[in-house]
Subunit: 293 residues, 2 copies
């Protein structure tokens, strides 16, 4: 099977890289903090020391890093040269749609296709290959990478067309809706708590009927338990970065987003209180604290 | 089978009364606009001319009317006298928890039990008996009415204890979350529409994965179709009334609810634009129009 490159083995990248190795791919891995990727070497990965060493000519490199700057830092001229004609860079990070569009144009100058493929999955869902991929970019390149997305983390793949930015927009829409759902539950549970309704009973009712969706079921439980600093799987810092991107995208396109402003403000408060590494569901503390709880 | 009373055969009361008749109960119906209840007479109901005529001594009367004042207007001294000792008034309307608590105390003075049992169901779901009931009030009274709730509309019944107000609070929490979900989708779809993401594809992705719950699936479709004035099943006027109750309950209990403020404002705009009879999903127009669409 094909040799593929993988850049970024954080919370989410790690289980995806592990799945690709288990599926039989030869995976060349670059991670800024090399030590974190060492267990993957034991599973069969080849660890390399620069982003460009992950590439083979005409091959495929996946990247999953923290933000726009980090993607720009790994998508070096050296990486694009190493990939060369018909090479593909699959950018899975949650970044600005405009950054993806700019990168796509730069890649194409070297004959490289840039495919945007952000991930909807918590690490455990990625590990279990029940995540969702949304993809956009060059048609033939997308077809070539689909089996790898399935082998890596995705149960469902939604194709948004050729514009490299579209998949980023949908990822931001989804993350905004998750943050909105957290705020919504936080306000509702707080109203219940202050008015003689057991929030846990309310949670049971709401998340098994009207709101019987994974987001409400999973995040609702975390909100009620208030264990935001134990095993956070998506940090308040990353959540705030994403809401910044949502509002930046809204600002550029003249789209006022009052609920996004609210959740951005909530996440800013989480970080102001020194909880930048807490799970982003900690934003639910805002409604409670505002109510004196 | 038992003779029961039913007050209020509007959009939601009508299918519930019809189900009770079909289940074999003798149902005495009072509706302010008598003509609307006439088809139920053909199905076997007995139409009466005052709320108190629906009652039998020690029996059960259901009421489902528009707001606090309307409940107070039907729960007359005459009705309570006609129900008498061990009679039950099942109040299904979405009203203030404090109104329920006051009514419960007044009912008890006549030996009547007041049970709060608001409904989570659109009319078609009530007709199909797949709705959800949340109930609170006197324990033995609740047990006595449960079979009727199941026969009338409810697939699930959640019991919130003895405080008559608690079930109203949970109903308000649920309706607030529905309104919040509408706003959330409206902002997300608008961001997509302005940034090269087909809202319908986004809807498919979001409502079959992360947000695969009836609320998002059903309301999301209505939002995208923007057919708010054709077959509205819950009007903007009623939605605004409910958000007023949410904020009033929050105000009394010192619970700031910024998202509830936002959706209240959106619904106020719907009505300001002359669409008071439109479906309350019309509040989704706010985000679109603010973005110049």
């Amino acid at each position: 099977m094909e040799t593929i490159g993988f850049i970024g083995t954080g919370h989410l990248g790690y289980p995806i890289a592990a799945n690709l190795i288990a599926a039989g791919y030869t995976v060349k891995i670059y991670n800024r903090t090399r030590d974190k990727a060492l267990p993957l070497e034991a599973q069969g990965a080849i660890l390399v020391n620069t982003p460009e060493e992950t590439a083979t000519p005409g091959g495929i490199v996946f990247s999953l890093v923290s933000d726009d700057k980090a993607v720009e830092a790994v998508a070096t001229a050296a990486l694009l040269q190493a990939l060369g004609k018909d090479g593909i860079h699959v950018s899975m990070s949650t970044i600005s749609p405009d950054t993806s569009r700019t990168l796509a144009a730069q890649h194409l100058e070297q004959g490289v296709h840039y495919v945007t493929a952000p991930i909807f999955a918590r690490p455990e869902a990625a590990a279990a290959k029940v995540g969702t991929a949304v993809i956009s970019g060059h048609a033939a390149a997308k077809e070539r990478i689909k089996p790898m997305l399935s082998a890596g983390f995705a149960k469902n793949i939604f194709d948004l067309g050729e514009d490299a930015g579209s998949a980023n927009v949908l990822k931001l829409m989804g993350n905004f809706m998750i943050a909105g759902a957290i705020e919504m539950m936080a306000e509702a549970f707080t109203l219940g708590e202050k008015n003689n309704v057991d929030p846990r009973l309310a949670y049971e009712m709401l998340t098994t009927t009207l709101f019987a969706a994974p987001i409400f079921r999973n995040y609702g439980g975390i909100i009620l338990d208030r264990q935001f600093t134990e095993n956070p799987s998506f940090s308040a810092t990353l959540g705030l970065k994403d809401m910044d991107l949502v509002l930046q995208t809204g600002r550029k396109s003249h789209t006022p987003l009052p609920l996004a402003n609210l959740v951005q403000s909530r996440l800013t408060t989480v970080i102001a209180k020194g909880l930048k590494e807490a799970d982003w569901t900690a934003l639910s503390g805002g409604a409670r604290e505002d109510a004196g709880l």
